[in-house]
Symmetry: C2
Subunit: 242 residues, 2 copies
């Protein structure tokens, strides 16, 4: 059996990788991934062989990994954050039936909700939802419905892919949906370039968030009704009596 590791590399820095992830990346012959993340890894392992595809060529990227493994090489398919959460693990498992001589090992990692949460404080200390605003593969109506119901459920919400060049107004549209049931002063947060140069976080209100430009390196946090700003940080309390 040719083994392929599908590795969640965490937000970007080596120190936020798990030992298992670092070991898989250090041991493999070939690292396959999206161009931006592969650039981060080249600094750590300059002598590895790298194979990349740009965004929107995910299936090609996965097939590339299987083809390399078929040739008997140790392959790591790398994902930023976790291997599963909006990562390649699902697509790799879907394609695996075409490559019966390959087996997959999924290596989890620290996704942006957790790393960005730590930067901001503890915005996900109680029940929460993770919702992506990317409508490349999901109808916008479905995204709207999820935002609306998550807000009604009083879940904290972590928003991935809040914006991109082609989707400049999406975060504002999302905030308008949330404002149907959430007050303007709700505590929210932003985490930008987590674990990378230029790392930045900010606690702000939902009204302020609505006016912000986000990019694809931003993760957004919407508080639940109990979320507070404490000592400059964002905290969703679990409810312990103190």
């Amino acid at each position: 059996m040719n083994r392929i590791w599908v590795v969640g590399m965490g937000p970007g820095s080596e120190e936020q990788m798990t030992l298992q992830a670092r070991e898989a990346l250090a041991d493999c012959d070939v690292i396959v991934g999206y161009t931006v993340y592969v650039e981060l890894l080249k600094k750590l392992w300059p002598d590895k062989e790298y194979r990349t595809t740009p965004m929107r060529q995910e299936a090609e990227r996965c097939r590339m990994a299987f083809e390399e493994a078929k040739d008997g090489r140790k392959v790591a398919m790398v994902c930023s954050g976790d291997a599963g959460v909006y990562g390649m693990a699902g697509l790799m498992l879907e394609l695996a039936k075409e490559y019966p001589d390959c087996s997959l090992e999924i290596v989890p990692g620290v996704t942006a909700a957790l790393a960005g949460g730590a930067l901001l404080g503890a915005p996900l200390g109680h029940d929460f939802a993770v919702i992506s605003l990317s409508d490349l593969l999901t109808p916008w109506e479905k995204i709207e419905k999820r935002l609306r119901l998550a807000a009604q459920a009083d879940l904290s919400i972590c928003i991935y892919n809040p914006s991109s060049r082609k989707r400049a107004g999406y975060l504002k549209r999302a905030c308008d949906i949330l404002l149907e049931s959430i007050e303007e002063e709700r505590v929210c947060g932003l985490a930008v370039m987590i674990g990378r140069e230029g790392e930045y976080s900010e606690v702000l209100t939902l009204r302020e968030l609505r006016e912000r430009q986000a990019d694809m390196f931003t993760t957004v946090f919407i508080g639940n009704s109990q979320t507070r700003k404490i000592g400059g940080r964002m905290v969703a309390p679990r409810g312990y009596r103190i």
Copy 2:
């Protein structure tokens, strides 16, 4: 300033810790935590000093950490999984104002949703909610409402604390709520003792899940309408065309 690290140690095994978490635990003088998790760490660092409190004494545990740090010692407050997700980071931040000479650093970790997800396949490959069934600090009506709305939103759902001795029927009650809007054949999953001896996972239907006894070392996954069982694993596809 006396620094305290609030460390997400991951599910249990050393290899699923981040480098940053391992470093914080290796460097500190005292490790404070819940008895069960501290036992796992004693195997790795038998010579550390450990301070523990049982469950339901979380505030005391946090004060213990601050008091140790006030005495000038390097302290790590350890949480299983992530530091924030149902962890101690929130409570530590709430208490921090009483200890102005201490500063907190939050170290994120691989929470059970991610580690259990990797074990099962990719059950959280698209939007999802994380909901705890523990009603120690949250009214059961609120938990029911969150389950109901998350199911209506077609989010995958990861359930923490599905059961305990005192809450033996809670998972069944949760399944009955989900069955109001989800079909009996919906693909679900269980991950037990993640990263520890006796690790086990299983893909099953919502109908089958309803009949299961879960314990506090079980994490439960409910598929969304697109989730499928592929090669024995649980996959929530992101929607890529293949």
